[in-house]
């Protein structure tokens, strides 16, 4: 058992190396970065972070990203809950086809949809709003949320529903006060996945925004190309994008193992 644990340790070290390098870079001055290799920051500086927190284009990038990710997570989970219930409890005309069709949307390359999405959201007047990105991300997050929640709901015995209906609960009341609390873990995991995929996606988010709702990732791309090669600043911005993910993952840490199996073990 002791010898075996070498493998995960080596693997985690391999995962941490590029992250360490990004963080180390973010504390170096541009001069130090360009002047040569150093394993640790020689002249430790907060300058890169100060720049980000004082320049509105930078920090609004973060706020924009967090806004559309949150809107997307709320929409995806809210509409996925009743749908997942329908798929897990009932048979209805075309249910299997519908389920498969939903999943095929996760297979569509975002690159395929970039231009049509731009035209669609311009046509409905939502271009450059947080809602546009949030709705566009529903394309792949809703199917995923339905898939995960359906797995968790199928694990809840049907007797729970039947008993509640015999006791005179109406469907909405049963669903919100009894059923959803009984799959809390599933809701948490689904929300986590929606957050994750909306947070890391860039292509659609960049296509659908210009100024008002510009995501942090797009601000970074612009800086990388226009302001020469400010590696330190770029590294600091990158480091900051890791933090929200780390916070969210900390909250679901006890559900991760089961959640990743989507209730289907």
């Amino acid at each position: 058992m002791q010898k075996r644990s070498i493998i995960p340790i080596v693997y985690i070290l391999f995962l941490m190396l590029p992250i360490y390098w990004l963080v180390a870079m973010s504390f170096k001055t541009t001069n130090e970065i360009l002047s040569g290799f150093s394993l640790f920051p020689q002249t430790f500086t907060w300058e890169n972070y100060t720049t980000i927190f004082t320049d509105p284009t930078w920090y609004w990038g973060y706020i924009n990203s967090i806004l559309y990710v949150s809107i997307n997570t709320v929409i995806s989970v809210t509409v996925a809950l009743p749908a997942a219930y329908a798929f897990s409890r009932y048979r209805f005309l075309g249910d299997k086809h519908l389920f498969f069709w939903l999943l095929t949307n996760r297979m569509a390359p975002a690159a395929v949809f970039a231009l049509p999405f731009f035209q669609l959201y311009s046509a409905v007047g939502l271009f450059d709003t947080h809602l546009a990105v949030a709705l566009a991300h529903c394309l792949f997050n809703i199917p995923l949320a339905v898939w995960i929640l359906e797995g968790f709901m199928s694990g809840v015995p049907k007797e729970l529903d039947e008993t509640a209906f015999v006791d005179g609960y109406s469907f909405p009341r049963f669903f919100t006060t009894i059923f959803i609390p009984s799959i809390k873990a599933g809701v948490g995991v689904a929300a986590f996945f929606c957050f994750m995929f909306s947070w890391v996606e860039l292509l659609l988010a960049k296509t659908l925004t210009a100024v008002e709702a510009k995501p942090i990732a797009a601000v970074m791309t612009r800086t990388a190309s226009s302001a020469g090669y400010e590696l330190g600043l770029l590294a600091a911005a990158g480091t900051l994008t890791i933090i929200p993910g780390a916070i969210v993952i900390y909250f679901v840490r006890n559900y991760i193992a089961k959640g990743f199996a989507m209730g289907r073990v």
């Binding site: 994008t241 780390a246 193992a257």
Partner: protein, 287 residues
């Protein structure tokens, strides 16, 4: 047993509406472009299936498709066995488990362009940790902007770094669901480690591994941002995967017709291979 209830459709309607809005309208736009020719000014001419023929015959498409299959094949061959090995060697319970899982999941929560930028900084020949180590400590000549092989090794390593954890977490979820009694029975029978893996652990992981392979296939086949930020498709065209080529064609050259036709062929291939994987892997369950 599920009961037949057509009213369940009402529960599905919001999902149907939102996904259809995002999927069907853009898809119809793509279909529309794929059969027309445009010279700008919103003037369109009927082109029929011409673009499809052109794409299917073009060497450029064949080359990009070949690179895409090579990339996806390689990362599946590396990530799936590696993920299973790591999951097998993790402790089943204890203080370290949640910490390991959180650390392992971390790369998946980093925005894709940051992953590309991070690996760029990491591999810069003279000032990146890996680049410096290879060039100056080991004396290997490594520069992925010049050498196609180095570029390939870098994008594969990056993807292994980024996504192996997904396989680990799924496989691990399958493993922890095995009751201890199974292992005790195997011990009494004197089963070898290999037998335990082959007849107890692997069957229990089958469902989750199916999910892992499908997700890894779909996502790696559609990969765009990370290699684009890291190599930009170069040197030359050596790492121009399908999505990168598609975006070049659609937004770079604004060849909407051929790009739309290519999108549809691309989507059809993804769909077809996913279906094939799914049918092959769940074949035994049907019997």
């Amino acid at each position: 047993m599920k009961t037949v209830n057509q009213k369940a459709w009402f529960l599905v309607l919001p999902v149907l509406f939102l996904v259809a809005f995002n999927a069907l309208i853009p898809m119809m736009t793509v279909v529309n472009y794929s059969v027309q020719e445009t010279f700008g000014d919103n003037l369109f001419f009927w082109e029929g299936l011409g673009w499809f023929e052109q794409i299917l015959r073009s060497d450029r498409f064949h080359a990009a498709l070949g690179r895409q299959f090579l990339f996806t094949g390689l990362i599946l061959l590396i990530e799936v066995p590696l993920g299973v090995i790591i999951a097998l060697s993790m402790p089943r319970s204890g203080f370290w488990v949640p910490i390991c899982l959180v650390l392992m999941a971390l790369p998946m929560l980093i925005p894709w362009n940051v992953v590309g930028a991070m690996w760029n900084i990491f591999t810069l020949p003279d000032i990146g940790l890996l680049g410096y180590f290879l060039n100056h400590t080991l004396g290997i000549n490594y520069d992925m902007t010049q050498d196609p092989l180095a570029a390939w090794i870098t994008i594969i390593t990056m993807d292994v770094w980024h996504w192996t954890s997904l396989v680990v977490l799924l496989a691990y979820a399958g493993l922890v669901s095995i009751p201890d009694a199974y292992y005790q029975a195997a011990k009494i029978d004197g089963a070898s480690n290999w037998a335990v893996f082959r007849f107890i652990q692997l069957p229990k992981m089958k469902n989750v591994l199916t999910i892992a392979i499908l997700l890894r296939f779909m996502d790696s086949f559609n990969i765009y941002t990370e290699p684009f930020v890291l190599t930009g498709g170069g040197p030359g065209n050596s790492t121009t995967l399908l999505s990168i080529d598609l975006v070049k064609m659609a937004l770079g050259q604004f060849d909407l017709g051929p790009a739309a036709a290519m999108s549809l062929i691309y989507f059809a291939i993804t769909l077809g291979v996913s279906w094939l994987f799914y049918t092959l892997m769940t074949k035994d369950d049907q019997k």
